[in-house]
Point group: C2
Chain length 438, copies 2
């Protein structure tokens, strides 16, 4: 029996990965449709994916359908037309509300990878999910419609790592530090790895972190630490606000401290300081010769297209959660992490690892939705679901993960460039290597 | 007998200085009119100047008249209405053509402080004066209308310094190095001292310099030297293209090397590198959400208004020409320079020294035009005129100058912070201190 029909919305870097991965696992889905705003560009992309996996000319594995993803009716009509039962939203976060509304209307399951955003709004107060998502949860629940919020890597897999740590390794968790480091090099003077608009807002907002059981607000890039991660070695990471801190604070109510940390190099920090101090990262429009212009849109127009970076990207990303707490009366610390290699990912699907690390979890979750393993029939953040089937499946879809027990004094035992501390990993799941490309 | 009626066009920082200075020397002019685009702002500024010098309510020293300075007919009508015989153009260089055409039409004498520019054009080939100015010289000559081009400090006074050096100190000049250093501090993260639009274009254009008797093109900020100037000490100055190099190359045909150097600090260079590398200094419009937007206009909209810097500006500027050549068979080197102090200038006229150093030469020249000392009845660059009366008068108007004989080995004999080398100056002219403000 063929699985449910799939509708993928969004054809940026993550969309590319999701489309490739959906086609790789096409035997577990019904029809696969890929929708985005620009018909020409989308048609070319879909043709390339069909060609990569050897689809017959008259029977493509993936079909292209142009859509305005900010138009609920248009999305609902496309869901009806394609008979999609699962909608994977990997479009801009500005489209989230329209797409999830279309799912509510049609009963199709919904998944996204980041919080809904408004284009010209910054520094939203916590809890971020209370603005657009959670108020609509009762409606999803009443109609029995599944919605998985924030199901990329971070948010997404890192939330699931936390759920797995709680389920298997801790009686009580005292702190969660999510650490996201891109140690890759794209060779450009400056570029963002996803939409510059969204990315520059994210990195320049006031940092909201969870400390002593309450929200704490600090200026961006004002707190940092140097960590020594597996494979990529010593890295300076800065405290930053991020979606998953918002939901974990609610779903891990007994954990007093939850922080997100992102790595930034010196050169990046220099460019960001200039752009930010001058107001060029702002999404609040200013008057320029009688027109209203958002400065960050101008910067976006000048920066390289994130998709263009993939071809020459080298190096690795490492994303993990550093969890400390107690088990059986003893202090315990576990680091659960994944790594991907930009060049390997590009060779497989034509995208860099930031996109790849977001797209693989999307299809992993879609496979669990397709076979009924994950079907909460309401809106959830993914840490609310059983982590085990997801983490068992993700390596097969393309992303390995590993858990290491670390010293409880907070030190990092990875020798520079090593993939494991001196002690053996608690758990190690390698990625599958045969992806079915012809 | 009252002098000729004066029309000042432009109410930026330089306009402020010119208006103040015109009123200080009002006994040598007829009526004084100040024109600019924005009526309200101009009326307030004119009222402040009248108040500063104690003008009677019913008989102001300076009158305000709104005008669109890019509209030749409007400017010509205002010249007729005010009976102006001298028009001082201190508006944006985008207005030069319209204002000088209005002078040609009406026969009024014309003066400007910088080359005419087009808003969205960069990297104009040499000779810059051949694009807009010099092709119209025959018409000025035929009608006997005086036009003084580039009569600020640089271009302007530095050209006159060169003429003075040639007249009094050299038989032959081998090299002219114009050096412009602002050692002041405005306390802002980043700001330009005049229109950001014009300024950022100037500092990021390809550098055109005169070397071995021909034009040489080098990337901006690619050549620098460390100099030790009087009063402000050691400074790093970068080779830059500038108006005066263009005219001096023609008017000093036997001088093989003419360069302009501007001082830039490390922090300025960092910000400029980011803005320039990302394309944010470009005046070439790009598409942003369906609108065409020039990136440098967005930066301009975000940077502090140059006029707002004056209040907290401290420190000094030093601008001079380092001339080397031969006199009576001997090698000779002379440095002719001026200095101004931001705080002193602000206290006198409410403007910082970059504006002050441009405005004082404008009124010095206007006084020479008014009494007939300078009246070439054609278009000239100011090095074509007799430098002596100008340099005799400028200190009285507010800007001192000094000439020092320096070692011919190229070294700088100023002990850090000293105002003279060990040998006595060749010439020293202090500024007058009583400016007649009430």
């Amino acid at each position: 029996m063929a699985g449910p029909n799939l509708l993928i919305i969004g054809a940026g870097g993550v969309g590319d990965v999701v489309a490739n991965k959906a086609v790789q696992f096409r035997d577990r889905f019904g029809t696969i449709t890929w929708a985005a705003r620009t018909a020409d560009k989308l048609a070319k992309k879909a043709a390339a994916v069909n060609a990569r996996y050897g689809a017959p000319e008259d029977s493509p594995f993936i079909a292209a359908e142009p859509v305005d993803a900010r138009d609920t009716d248009a999305v609902a009509a496309l869901i009806e037309k394609t008979g999609a039962r699962i909608v994977l939203n990997v479009a801009s976060p500005y489209c989230n509300v329209a797409i999830s509304d279309a799912c509510l209307q049609t009963g199709a399951s919904y998944l996204d990878t980041a919080l809904a955003e408004d284009e010209f709004t910054i520094d939203i107060p916590p809890n971020w999910y209370e603005h657009k998502e959670w108020p609509r949860r009762p409606e999803f629940k009443a109609k029995g419609v599944t919605a998985l919020l924030g199901m990329g890597f971070d948010p997404g897999v890192v939330n699931i790592f936390c759920a797995w740590a709680r389920k298997h390794h801790f009686d009580a968790i005292d702190s969660i530090d999510i650490i996201d480091v891109n140690a890759g090099n794209h060779g450009k003077y400056f570029a963002t790895n996803f939409d510059p608009d969204v990315n520059l807002r994210e990195v320049t907002e006031e940092v909201i972190t969870w400390e002593d059981g309450e929200w704490k607000f600090i200026p961006h890039h004002s707190i940092w630490q140097d960590v020594t991660l597996p494979l990529v070695g010593e890295q300076r990471v800065y405290s930053m606000g991020h979606d998953e801190v918002q939901s974990l604070a609610v779903n891990f109510p007994d954990t007093p401290r939850i922080s997100f940390w992102m790595g930034f190099g010196e050169h990046y920090m220099k460019v960001l300081e200039v752009l930010d101090t001058l107001g060029l990262t702002s999404s609040v429009p200013v008057e320029v010769d009688g027109q209203m212009v958002a400065p960050n849109r101008v910067v976006k127009a000048l920066l390289p297209d994130p998709a263009s970076l993939a071809e020459n990207y080298t190096g690795k990303i490492v994303i993990g959660v550093d969890v400390s707490g107690r088990k059986d009366g003893q202090d315990k610390r576990v680091f659960i992490w994944s790594t991907l290699d930009h060049k390997e990912n590009y060779e497989e699907v034509g995208a860099q690892s930031i996109s790849y690390s977001t797209g693989v979890p999307v299809i992993t979750a879609a496979l669990l939705m397709a076979d009924g393993t994950w079907d909460p029939k309401t809106m959830v953040n993914v840490e609310e679901l059983d982590p085990d089937p997801f983490l068992a499946l993700m390596p097969e879809v393309g992303c390995p993960w590993q858990a290491d027990e670390l010293p409880t004094d907070g030190s990092w035992p990875y020798a520079d460039g090593a993939g494991s501390p001196s002690a053996a990993p608690l758990s190690q799941q390698s990625a599958a290597t045969d992806r079915g490309a012809t």
